[in-house]
């Protein structure tokens, strides 16, 4: 009897513990705007954000110093503007862990922020895991919606047609070029790029450095590799959600990259990962660097081919080099009849499922969309072009950097790299693995065969 009682007690306790620990089978329902009980007059509620920036980090050498300073400057402004209603509390997160932390928090029913600083590259992960609220209805009712760049809105649109982030800045990809390394101008065709590579090799230099490793889960597939594919008229999908790699255009693009690498026109460090490829551009040993527009934040200090040092050690180095004419911005070389291709990402805000104060996030987004705040956000944490068309004409965006970048983007056909692919992290990892194998690891492998095998592996999961 005693044993039975003990056993029963243990079972009851075990079931209590397990039921207490069990995760919700479905994600907590989104709290609709306005459902929140109206705050009693005078009660100030915390407005929680997750940014990759940390207002408490005052290290001038921090990679994220611009965003950190931005938060230091604007948190008091927001709190002043919404005095008596919201108190902005930022919880800094590591940029490469934010998505995972948010998904874990949402699925575990834990504390989530009211507003999540995010890029379109993470949208599919967050959508698939049910971490974001659909903001379509609310956004369409706002005055700024009609002023948004449709391409930016498209980048924030989920597979079901819902709007899962509000874009604030667009970050197209382009090529940073040391002007003196290309005295006859930066090549506009792949053949010209190869010829320049041969010439520079003779001088002990390289034509191009790029994110050539499989690091960061194949992030390289969204950068120079996509620019190459797109500039050859190719891409990664068939428009119906299937991966499509084995096309003549993509095969030609891989052949070009393979020639660049195997002929020694690309430094070895391009394949080391950890953003080490930037070093070859910093010391001008590589003449060009296809990457995101926002790359200027991180590529410093710089030494120009003529010996000029740009050594503040912050984002101003690249801007100074561009203003001085040592660095120019250019579109990626494209085959005849094709516009240079590039990836276009957006950065902005999402409102997580389970946010306690979604109306605080809505107030914040409307505040950021105001003419007083919008350019500042785009210029500092955004590091790109404004998603609001009216902001683009402002004086702040008429600098040499923005003028050149604007011309490059106008001359290019930029689009989100993933097209209709839904499992984007899996796709980029597979694509970069295949490209790395073809251009670096096994330069004799049949390109079409490897590309076909890669798309088959992805499409098997559709």
């Amino acid at each position: 009897m005693k044993r039975l009682w003990t056993l029963m007690s243990m079972l009851v306790l075990a079931s209590l513990v397990l039921s207490a620990c069990v995760a919700p089978a479905t994600a907590p329902a989104a709290a609709p705007a306005g459902e929140e009980a109206a705050a009693p007059s005078g009660e100030v509620k915390d407005f929680i954000t997750w940014y990759q920036y940390d207002e408490k980090n005052e290290d001038p050498a921090s990679d994220e110093r611009v965003g950190n300073q931005y938060l230091r400057d604007t948190i008091p402004l927001f709190n002043e503007a919404f005095a008596g209603k919201w108190n902005w509390v930022n919880q800094p997160k590591a940029w490469d862990r934010m998505n995972a932390e948010l998904v874990a928090a949402v699925q575990a029913g834990g504390d989530v922020p009211d507003l999540f600083d995010m890029g379109s590259s993470g949208l599919s992960l967050l959508y698939q895991n049910g971490a974001l609220q659909d903001l379509s209805e609310w956004a369409k009712a706002q005055s700024w919606y009609a002023d948004m760049d449709p391409n930016a809105l498209k980048a924030c649109t989920g597979p079901d047609g819902g709007l899962y982030c509000i874009p604030i800045a667009e970050r197209p990809h382009l090529v940073y070029v040391w002007k003196d390394r290309f005295p006859e101008g930066f090549p506009t065709t792949p053949d010209g790029y190869l010829a320049a590579g041969e010439r520079l090799k003779g001088e002990g230099l390289y034509a191009m450095t790029f994110f050539g490793s499989t690091d960061f889960d194949g992030s390289g597939a969204t950068r120079a590799v996509f620019m190459t594919f797109a500039s050859f008229g190719g891409g990664y999908d068939d428009g119906q959600g299937n991966m499509l790699l084995n096309t003549p255009e993509n095969v030609a693009a891989v052949e070009f990259l393979r020639s660049m690498v195997q002929n020694g026109y690309v430094p070895e460090i391009a394949f080391a990962g950890g953003f080490q490829e930037e070093n070859a551009f910093k010391d001008a040993s590589a003449g060009s660097f296809p990457t995101g527009l926002f790359g200027y934040r991180y590529v410093n200090p710089l030494t120009a081919p003529n010996g000029t040092q740009y050594s503040k050690g912050n984002e101003e180095d690249m801007l100074d080099a561009i203003a001085a004419g040592d660095v120019i911005l250019a579109p990626f070389p494209a085959v005849e009849g094709q516009k240079p291709g590039c990836n276009n990402e957006v950065t902005g805000f999402g409102i997580p499922v389970g946010a306690k104060n979604p109306e605080a996030a809505q107030d914040y987004i409307n505040w950021i969309m105001s003419p007083e705040q919008n350019p500042d956000w785009v210029l500092r944490p955004g590091a790109g072009f404004p998603a609001l068309m009216s902001t683009r004409g402002l004086e702040q965006f008429q600098t040499p950097f923005y003028q050149q970048a604007g011309e490059v983007v106008a001359a290019s056909a930029c689009r989100p790299w993933h097209g209709s692919l839904e499992r984007r992290p899996e796709a980029q990892r597979l694509i970069m693995g295949a490209v790395y194998k073809l251009i670096k690891e096994d330069p004799t492998a049949d390109i079409a065969t490897v590309l076909q095998a890669t798309q088959d592996e992805y499409n098997a999961g559709n």
Binding site: M10, L18, A100, D217, Q276, Y436, K440
Partner: protein
């Protein structure tokens, strides 16, 4: 007699159940942090996340996992890594333990110095080893990439391509990055293994060693036929400990090679990290975790069996 019965009655069920209440907190903690996650992992491995919630998919996660090209490669890399890592660490650990066992001057200092790698986090060790060999800019790159020293083109540890495989798809001989990863991992594990073996070595009776020398055994023969058999249970425990650590460790791969170049150092634990925390594909990650857990269970059972044999022998 009567008094004893009265005392028992006074004690009541609380006193008779006292042992149960005493172990209850431990049981509850174990249920919460070990049993529940284990069952939840099994549950996850049979489900896939959809925007609307979790969907039961049966064994589809396992099927998809086996269908991933990189899964087979990772199994091969894991075997190569474990064999290289355990062999190198055990051999070096044994040699260093032998040297320290000779009662050298300042042997206490040597042991203290030896312990430095063990107190450094593996992720830091990975970063330091990486900075040494970053192509063109690393501390040792001037030597490694010098064609005069390493003809014909020098070597780049982190980006050198894999040599052609000798056994079909099995990744042997390994890439330079894998060899370097093994070396870095062994460097960090060496102190613990050395001390473990040193402790075991010091339990070997001097009389046994002396008598074998008197019988004409040379140094190698003493080690081969006396010390190794006497230390065998400890060696086996060290082997299992290294294998378990190597099987589950991800920090070193993460910070040293990131699984590259290509997928040349992508071991199963790193693949698990990628599936779970980069791709947030918890279902497939749980399926892989189940497979790794099975291997771990086998290793743990092996260790327990060996330690029981050791106890019985003693």
């Amino acid at each position: 007699m009567q008094q004893t019965q009265i005392r028992k009655k006074r004690r009541g069920p609380f006193h008779t159940m006292l042992p149960f209440w005493l172990i209850l907190p431990t049981v509850l903690v174990l249920l919460a942090i070990q049993v529940y996650p284990a069952f939840y992992t099994i549950w996850l491995s049979l489900h896939e996340r959809q925007p609307q919630g979790w969907e039961y998919v049966g064994f589809n996660n396992f099927v998809r996992l086996f269908g991933m090209g990189v899964f087979g490669e990772s199994v091969g890399h894991t075997i190569v890594f474990l064999v290289g890592y355990t062999s190198l660490t055990l051999v070096l650990g044994f040699i260093i333990a032998l040297l320290l066992n000779r009662k050298l001057k300042l042997s206490g200092l040597y042991v203290t110095l030896l312990f430095i790698p063990w107190i450094i986090a593996d992720i830091i060790v990975g970063i330091v080893f990486r900075l040494l060999v970053v192509p063109d800019y690393g501390l040792l790159s001037g030597i490694l990439q010098n064609p005069a020293i390493f003809p014909p083109n020098g070597i780049s540890v982190l980006t050198a391509t894999r040599p052609p495989s000798w056994f079909g798809g099995f990744p042997f001989p390994p890439a330079l990055a894998m060899i370097y990863l093994i070396m870095a991992s062994a460097w960090r594990a060496l102190p613990f293994i050395t001390l473990l073996l040193l402790a075991a070595m010091q339990t070997v009776s001097n009389e046994v060693i002396e008598s074998s020398r008197m019988d004409g055994a040379n140094g190698w023969q003493v080690v081969r036929h006396m010390m190794i058999p006497l230390m065998l249970p400890t060696l086996v425990v060290a082997l299992f400990s290294l294998t378990l650590g190597g099987m589950n460790g991800v920090g070193m791969v993460f910070s040293l090679t990131g699984g590259g170049p290509g997928s040349a150092t992508e071991v199963l634990s790193y693949l698990l990290y990628v599936l779970g925390w980069s791709q947030l594909n918890f279902g497939r990650a749980a399926a892989l975790a189940m497979l790794i857990a099975v291997v771990n269970w086998i290793l743990i059972l092996g260790t327990l069996r060996v330690t029981r044999v050791e106890e019985r022998t003693n």
